[in-house]
């Protein structure tokens, strides 16, 4: 009998990617696993693989704010529409706009990005439950940086 945990499945996925496996189907007692890598990616993956090899190499450092990869699981990100400083509350003594587990509506203010001394209220573009807040209060964020993970509903 085969028993996987999530980490192991992720490892399998990586291994598929590394070895150009386009499809994996596994059925065993109490488990069925079917993995397909997008066929569009076939040619692209070879090329991108080289590219990403390159981009990951070189010296230490890099992007000011670390990008998180988009999830497969149907979750989505609220991303920063501008460069600035991320605040979770309208003022230091106010409660946060949202907490993990909160339900947010489309258009609801979820945080503030301060840019050039201006406080810009950032509204959610989706409706759903906040699963994770990715940036700490008061930290700098860049354009397009994921701020929160939301599970749309």
């Amino acid at each position: 009998m085969i028993n996987f945990d999530l980490e192991e499945i992720k490892e399998l996925i990586r291994s598929m990617q590394e070895n150009s496996i386009s499809e994996l189907y596994l059925e065993s007692e109490g488990i069925k696993l079917n993995l397909k890598r997008e066929s569009f990616a076939q040619l692209q993956s070879v090329l991108d693989m080289q590219e990403s090899n390159f981009l990951e190499s070189g010296d230490s450092k890099k992007d000011f704010a670390q990008q998180k990869l988009e999830d497969q699981s149907g979750e989505t990100h609220i991303k920063s529409p501008m460069v600035g400083t991320f605040y979770r509350a309208p003022s230091p003594n106010s409660p946060s706009f949202v907490e993990v587990g909160d339900f947010v509506k489309k258009g609801q203010v979820v945080c503030i990005i301060e840019a050039m001394k201006l406080m810009n209220e950032i509204e959610s573009e989706v409706q759903g439950v906040v699963k994770e807040i990715l940036v700490e209060n008061g930290m700098p964020v860049e354009f397009g940086q994921p701020l929160m993970v939301v599970k749309p509903e």
Partner: protein, 446 residues
């Protein structure tokens, strides 16, 4: 000055990153989403995404850049060339926010930035300008002025550059129509329909003087660059020294550039552009208040690092040498390699570079952000590499450049490499017998 934000991309961003690393400054690159996998992002000390691919949302987005400077703790900004490099507004916002803008003051930039103002400044500094209208010309004055100056004439956008809003007028009957088209073009391109009128010099050389002036008033000429190889007013090949400039004319042009720089209280490095006729008549055209694409040819022949000079001047330090120390040794040529298809009217050719092998070996400098697998994006200008050759003589510099372009490999996109090789083979080019109409007249290319 310790941490400098670079609000630019491509080869000039790389040039600045290299200089900052060598001279001990921390570099922060502000980049657009389209440039995420670029070499400057990889090689800067830190990088921050400031906006979407459109230049308006990123490299021209002043609030985003200022915000990036603030959150990354930079104390200075280098705008490179293009984008906000010559925006007095940006320079002023920086100044007000206590950020060192590496370039001249907003006031100086305003004076030299408007061509008709620059013209008056030159005249009051005693530098000859092309005969033409003082300030912009109204449709009413057009005929009178045209009679006064004589044909051929040229109409130019007051706020313009790069050939937009420009018309050559050969006779009275073309005058009105040309005025209307040019003014419309100027309005579309620069939001300003004002035109001025000038005598059209038909076979001039385009010569520019590189100068530097510090806040103590030390003003130094780094001599000329010959930039007459152009297509549609876009420079393609530059060299220094120019075959057409006698030592006497070099001195006169240098003095003229310095006089204008002094007149406007210019602090920084800059370029004064002149038209020079075969008879050694010369006319001032404009000041470029920035580092120029073609600055490496001056660096090769003078041994002066122009970006270092910008840093020195921006830190209120005096220029560390005097005019007597500056000598031209040898000869340098630059070819600007664009991602364009010369067989298809120089149409931009973005796409993936499958294989890139830059030229190397003795006397070759290559400034390029390419690598094998890099994708040239369609959002910005098409310059992908500058190849600079340096040798003891012009002939050897040309031979060396031919050798370099022969070995340079860029696969997957069209480039202008072969076009440059044709120019280098041309007998008129080799003799140094060329003017701004070379590409049209000698290569048969519009």
């Amino acid at each position: 000055m310790k941490r400098i934000l670079i609000s630019n991309r491509g080869e000039i961003a790389l040039r600045l990153i290299r200089a900052f690393r060598e001279f001990g400054y921390f570099s922060v690159l502000a980049y657009s989403e389209a440039d995420r996998s670029s070499l400057p992002v990889k090689l800067s000390d830190a990088a921050i995404c400031i906006g979407p691919p459109s230049a308006k949302g990123s490299y021209l987005n002043i609030p985003a850049i200022i915000s990036a400077i603030e959150i990354t703790g930079c104390d200075a900004v280098h705008p490179g060339y293009g984008f906000l490099a010559e925006s007095p507004q940006f320079a002023r916002v920086c100044k007000d926010a206590g950020i060192i803008f590496i370039g001249p003051s907003p006031e100086a930039m305003e004076k030299v930035g408007d061509k008709s103002v620059a013209r008056s400044v030159a005249m009051s500094a005693g530098v000859p300008v092309v005969p033409g209208s003082t300030g912009f010309v109204s449709k009413e004055d057009l005929l009178r002025l045209a009679k006064e100056i004589g044909f051929p004439l040229i109409l130019k956008a007051s706020a313009g550059g790069g050939g937009k809003g420009m018309r050559i007028v050969q006779s009275f009957k073309e005058l009105d129509d040309s005025f209307d088209t040019a003014s419309n073009e100027a309005l579309t391109a620069f939001g300003n329909s004002n035109l001025y009128l000038e005598k059209y010099v038909s076979e001039p050389r385009h010569i520019e003087i590189q100068f530097a002036r510090d806040k103590f008033g030390n003003c130094i000429s780094l001599f000329e660059r010959e930039c007459s190889i152009q297509r549609k007013h876009q420079k393609l090949i530059e060299e220094s020294p120019s075959c057409a400039i006698s030592p006497k004319l070099r001195k006169v042009l240098s003095d003229s550039a310095l006089a204008i720089a002094n007149q406007v209280g210019y602090v920084g490095v800059g370029t004064a552009e002149f038209l020079v006729t075969p008879e050694e008549m010369f006319y001032f055209i404009e000041i470029n208040a920035r580092i120029q694409v073609e600055h490496p040819v001056t660096e090769m022949v003078t041994g002066v690092d122009l970006v270092e000079l910008q840093l020195i001047i921006a830190e209120d330090r005096p220029i560390p040498f005097s005019q007597e120390d500056v000598k031209i040794t040898g000869h340098a040529i630059e070819c600007r390699i664009n991602a364009e298809d010369p067989r298809n009217n120089f149409c931009p050719s973005p796409g993936r570079v499958d294989q890139y092998i830059p030229p190397g070996g003795p006397g070759i400098r290559c400034d390029s952000h390419l690598y094998s697998g890099f994708k040239v994006v369609p959002y910005y200008d098409s310059l992908i590499a500058k190849v600079i050759s340096y040798a003891p003589t012009r002939e050897r510099a040309i031979n060396r450049m031919e050798r370099a372009l022969y070995e340079m490999t860029i696969e997957g996109i069209s480039t202008t490499i072969d076009f440059h090789r044709e120019v280098l083979k041309n007998a008129f080019f080799r003799k140094g017998d060329y003017y701004t109409n070379f590409v049209q007249r000698r290569m048969g290319i519009k």
